[in-house]
């Protein structure tokens, strides 16, 4: 009897609670409605912010894609190092962009760089937002932009893989996101001089602003580093150093592909009816790049190479990023297809001239980023050369690509020269041969072998001599 009474009491309490909840919620909702009546505009503003926030998260997810592609295409003995570089360029890069980069990129200032709004303070970018995207809140806009800054930074880690000192990479990550990338953004998206040309520069989501900047930075890093030991034989011919996990690399490509649906459609910076069309041009270019890179490498070498096909998909995506809102579906397929062919020849070409880029980042992001931006001048349905728009847009695109590449090359040469002089850039030969994981980070990425006495505290084992490194 008593037990039943307790159960009854509990049920009654629960029912009362459930009853009271909707009533309470209703009261709250009514209050909100009374304070600010819903209008089409206010709903649109919320939708814009939510969509751009989701797109920002998708772009951040691309960090996982980059980490997997780079880990998969390099050797297991440095896998912890490449993962750590991907993790830290994101962590360091976000802080650097919040503190300095965002102000340089979007703060009020001159036509070359912003000078207001350090540390996300002041009126950072509020003037800019009020003029250009009045619906977006500052937090929404910041998280979207910082995701792009981190993307530009992380492109470099793969090209410099397996031979760069971690501390030097740490410093590089800070400098590119704090000082170099934001200047390019101010020139373009921030309303600087390239946006003010008579025919304004078009790079919708960053083929040049994000990808080419990363690719050129990677090229400068590799020039300062030199090739990995064993990449070139005594005869000077390039040798293959196969990556350790094709599954990692291809899952990484798919994650990047998914992330790109935040990168390009999100760059509309609004939840409107242009977004799905941008998603379709992005999709078509990515797959066209994959198909054409596969065919190109198949014809050239006799085998449909898997890693090269992955590079081809990314090349198509990088290529369409500038023009995804300006070209039609046919234009997107052609841009993606050409990028897929270009990337194959770029990879082989860099290999031949002793530029050792283990993951093809310079070819994918640098070369195809430049190509995609120039292609806007050809394929834009409004203003493109092939659509009767004359050469004005193409000329602007050439000016922009050359200016951005030149500034990035000079700025990053200074950055890497400084780092090389102060910290050194390359690990010692012994460390490179052994792999970077143990010396740089203390332990291998795939864990010490059980057979080798994993986890045994120091002194318990029989080993006392230090290894000769």
């Amino acid at each position: 009897m008593r037990k039943r009474a307790v159960v009854g009491l509990g049920l009654a309490a629960l029912v009362t609670l459930l009853w009271s909840l909707p009533a309470h919620a209703q009261e709250v909702a009514e209050e909100v409605v009374e304070e600010a009546p819903l209008t089409a505009e206010s709903v649109q503003a919320v939708l814009d912010n939510i969509w751009v926030l989701i797109a920002a998260v998708l772009v951040i997810f691309m960090q996982a894609g980059f980490a997997l592609v780079e880990a998969g295409l390099t050797r297991a003995k440095s896998v912890a190092n490449i993962m750590m570089k991907n993790l830290m360029d994101f962590c360091v890069g976000v802080l650097a962009f919040a503190a300095f980069g965002f102000a340089i990129a979007f703060g009020t200032g001159n036509d070359l760089f912003g000078t207001a709004g350090w540390f996300l303070g002041d009126n950072v970018a509020t003037n800019y937002l009020a003029e250009s995207y009045p619906n977006l809140t500052l937090p929404t806009f910041f998280i979207f932009q910082v995701a792009f800054a981190a993307t530009a930074a992380t492109i470099v880690s793969g090209a410099m893989a397996e031979r760069t000192k971690f501390r030097s990479y740490f410093v590089y990550s800070f400098l590119i996101t704090a000082l170099v990338y934001p200047v390019i953004v101010h020139w373009t998206w921030g309303g600087g001089w390239l946006a003010q040309l008579d025919t304004p520069y078009v790079d919708f989501a960053g083929s040049s602003i994000v990808h080419m900047v990363g690719g050129v930075a990677a090229l400068m890093g590799v020039l300062f580093l030199g090739p990995r030991i064993g990449k070139y034989g005594p005869d000077g011919k390039p040798r293959a150093i196969p990556g350790h996990s094709i599954p990692f690399a291809i899952i990484g490509v798919f994650i990047l592909f998914i992330g790109w649906f935040g990168f390009n459609p999100g760059s509309q910076l609004a939840a409107d009816d242009a977004v799905p069309a941008i998603a379709v041009t992005t999709l078509l270019a990515g797959v066209a790049g994959g198909v054409m890179a596969t065919l190109a490498v198949w014809l050239k070498t006799g085998k449909p190479d898997v890693a090269m096909a992955g590079n081809g998909v990314l090349a198509g995506l990088v290529g369409i990023t500038a023009g995804c809102a300006a070209v039609n579906n046919l234009g997107a397929v052609i841009i993606g297809a050409l990028a897929g062919i270009i990337v194959v020849f770029a990879v082989f070409g860099f290999d031949r001239i002793r530029i050792d880029d283990p993951v093809g980042a310079i070819s994918v992001h640098g070369v195809c980023g430049a190509f995609g931006t120039l292609a806007v001048g050809l394929f834009a349905t409004d203003g493109g050369l092939f659509y009767g728009g004359g050469a004005d847009q193409l000329v602007t695109q050439v000016i922009g690509v050359v200016a951005i590449a030149a500034f990035t090359a000079v700025a990053m040469a200074i950055v890497f020269a400084l780092i090389k002089a102060v910290l050194g850039l390359r690990v010692p030969e012994d460390e490179e041969i052994a792999g970077l994981d143990v010396v740089e980070h203390g332990a291998p990425g795939y864990g010490p072998d059980v057979l080798a006495g994993s986890g045994e505290p120091v002194g318990a084992g029989m080993a006392t001599a230090a290894v000769g490194r």
């Binding site: 072998d449 029989m462 001599a465």
Partner: protein, 113 residues
């Protein structure tokens, strides 16, 4: 008479050893990834700040069967290719072999190596 030559070497010198063996006319070899230690001992690693020891280091074991008259030449070739001068370069030893047969043809002895 044939001999089995076994060499335990540092993993990164394998390519050089392969080239050296081809250079003295060795037609084939068997290679294993192994772990072990000699005078080099192990080393310590750290994981989340805690140290632990690695006793057994990764090595590569190369085995070739050759005519005994060639054994000295082959041992020298391996030693020259695998020597870095640093501790942990490994060891080579030679054992005599009772009988060798090539499975496909049934050839025996020196004809089979």
């Amino acid at each position: 008479m044939q001999s089995l030559i076994t060499a335990v070497i540092k993993p990164h010198v394998l390519d050089a050893v392969k080239d050296a063996l081809r250079g003295v006319g060795v037609q084939g070899m068997t290679v294993d990834e192994v772990k072990g230690f000699g005078r080099q001992g192990g080393h310590t690693e750290t994981y989340r700040g805690a140290e632990y020891t690695i006793d057994l280091l990764p090595k590569v074991k190369v085995e070739v069967v050759v005519s005994t008259s060639d054994a000295e030449k082959v041992v020298d070739a391996i030693a020259n290719a695998a020597r870095t001068g640093k501790i942990g370069d490994g060891k080579i030893w030679v054992t005599s072999v009772d009988r060798v047969m090539r499975i496909r043809t049934g050839e025996l002895g020196d004809d089979a190596v």
